[in-house]
């Protein structure tokens, strides 16, 4: 009878854990002709009343579309915002007319730039994930699973 060596088992476990973590931290979803990368809701602490969502989206459809709004169970007050820096001054604006997504183009929601602002969170950010609906002009509603992550975790992970 042949025995598998213990060091080989440990090696396989480490590899599995590494890939499992990579899968959750750099998630990529393909849905209705869109590729959504790394959707995250980032919060200060689990009792936060306010949080921001970030992701990258690629329109792989053969038509232009527009992201009109975002909604979800986490809050009734979710808005698309943009932050701009002018001479070191941070200014944040609500986007009312949506985000154009030309065919075969991509768009990034990220810290200090375009982001999804989630306000008036009643029960905090207690779950490990929350679904947000991205409402498009042509593709209508697309439900995306967002991983919840604290600013501490995000800074430590470096992405």
């Amino acid at each position: 009878m042949k025995f598998i060596r213990l060091d080989k088992i440990i090696f396989l476990i480490i590899i599995s854990i590494t890939f499992a973590q990579a899968d959750t931290s750099f998630k990529e979803i393909k849905i209705n002709g869109f590729k959504v990368k790394n959707p995250q809701i980032v919060f200060k602490d689990k009792n936060s009343k306010i949080a921001a969502a970030y992701f990258e989206i690629e329109n792989q459809n053969n038509f232009d579309d527009k992201l009109l709004s975002v909604d979800g169970d986490i809050s009734k007050n979710i808005q698309i915002h943009n932050t701009i820096m002018q001479n070191g001054i941070m200014k944040m604006f609500k986007i009312d007319d949506g985000i154009e997504l030309k065919k075969n183009s991509n768009f990034k929601f990220e810290q200090g730039k375009y982001h999804i602002m989630i306000m008036d969170i009643v029960n905090g950010v207690k779950k490990t994930n929350h679904y947000l609906n991205l409402n498009f002009e042509r593709s209508k509603k697309i439900k995306i699973n967002f991983e919840t992550i604290s600013f501490k975790q995000k800074l430590k992970s470096g992405h």
Binding site: K44, D45, G88, I89, M90, L155
Partner: protein, 197 residues
């Protein structure tokens, strides 16, 4: 043998002189880069800390400190910056020798209780400070911070300087910018503390 010893001595001397020159130049450059506060009497500016205690602005400058000006309704830049400063100090293991202050630019909404709750994540290391509009304006003017309350649909937001200030002896010695990553922030704080201590 003697020639070799003299050669070794000269090389060591040359290396030491070079080393100290670099050190002194760095220190002089760092000193020259500081910016004095605008001349406003900080003893006359009354503020309230997150425990509800009245304090004078002058009390905030007893130790080297990092100041960040923001508001608790800010979704990403304010919590991200505060977390970055907190983590930098934690990783540098220097949190005992420097204070961190979060000065609210939104005294209408940010009461001491709200500040206390908001900053609980940082284990009392980040001290929340608020005050009335007049005194907050006095402090920001002194420290060259710009902010503006801007009315939006049915609420308001605050446009404000996004950098954190490294402060000692009523002078600004450096700025941690919003887009500085954790490593850059640690480097800036280390340079600041190396200069002070």
């Amino acid at each position: 043998m003697r020639v070799f010893k003299n050669f070794l001595f000269l090389i060591t001397l040359f290396f030491l002189i070079g080393f100290f020159c670099v050190l002194i130049t760095k220190k002089i450059l760092y000193t020259d880069n500081n910016i004095a506060f605008n001349k406003i009497d900080l003893k006359k500016i009354e503020l309230v800390n997150y425990n509800g205690n009245k304090i004078k602005a002058i009390d905030l400058f007893k130790k080297p400190a990092i100041f960040y000006f923001g508001f608790t309704s800010c979704p990403d830049i304010c919590p991200l910056t505060l977390t970055k400063i907190y983590l930098s100090l934690e990783e540098l293991e220097k949190s005992e020798i420097i204070d961190i202050y979060f000065i609210s630019l939104d005294p209408e909404r940010d009461t001491p209780d709200i500040l206390k709750n908001y900053l609980a994540t940082f284990n009392d290391k980040v001290i929340g400070v608020t005050g009335n509009n007049k005194n907050i304006k006095g402090l920001t003017k002194s420290m060259k911070i710009k902010f503006n309350k801007r009315i939006t649909e049915n609420t308001y937001t605050i446009d404000h300087t996004s950098a954190s200030l490294l402060v000692f002896n009523n002078k600004i010695f450096g700025r941690i910018l919003f887009d500085d990553d954790l490593e850059n922030s640690k480097k800036k704080i280390s340079e600041f503390l190396n200069f002070i201590y």
